[in-house]
Symmetry: C2
Subunit: 133 residues, 2 copies
């Protein structure tokens, strides 16, 4: 039997593994550019485009969270696959995962009340962590 109709088969490559690993090592959110620099510093010859492609795949697969920074760049972070939100330090980027069952319900409810279907939401809390004061 052939593939459904359009999605091509994925392949495992050392480059993907390297990006995944580097993302896991990072303490907070990092940009594709930063990740590329880090990888090259460690001797990798990976291409920038590959980093972008891999991060986009990871985000789509739910293995990474993405976030838009103030400078119009996208930041990524490895995460658990379960739904959660973030508490992020504005200075050092330290990130904590937050769970909020009530919020999920509230958000879906607000959407439904106003006739919106397929609800989703973005919730991020920012602040300055204890260590940065």
């Amino acid at each position: 039997m052939t593939q459904a109709n359009s999605a091509p088969a994925k392949r495992n490559t050392p480059q993907k593994a390297a990006v995944k690993h580097a993302l896991g090592e990072a303490t907070g959110f990092v940009s594709a550019q930063q990740l590329h620099q880090t990888l090259k510093k460690h001797g990798s010859t990976i291409g920038l485009a590959t980093v972008y492609r891999t991060l986009a795949d990871l985000a789509q697969a739910g293995e990474a969270d993405s976030l838009q920074s103030k400078d119009a760049e996208v930041l990524y972070r490895a995460c658990t696959t379960s739904h959660h939100h973030h508490l992020i330090c504005r200075k050092c980027g330290l990130t904590l995962e937050i769970e909020a069952q009530n919020l999920e319900k509230w958000a879906d409810q607000v959407a439904t009340e106003h006739g919106f279907s397929q609800p989703s939401h973005n919730i991020d809390i920012f602040g300055v962590c204890a260590g940065c004061r």
Copy 2:
């Protein structure tokens, strides 16, 4: 008495008024590029840089909300100056303002509990509105 020390005096110009007005006319979130197109279509000779500058000013003054789209561009929308959040249609961009006193408290509390000061947050709900189904 002279101005405090650094902030220069603001001046009222037809260009700023035009951007403000165009932003008010828009139904949902729009990008600086879109707004510039719209203005030119209506005969204005306003420059793109001026649109960017004016929108940034409005956002800082709390007269407009900004939002990062998926395509790494910033979207703006005229809004009330009081704090609020948005319920946005993924298809047509229709936007409703949402108030949630409890949320504000919750967000600040979560930040404080984890030792974060100067809390702020981004909360947006997305969905598909009744008209788009």
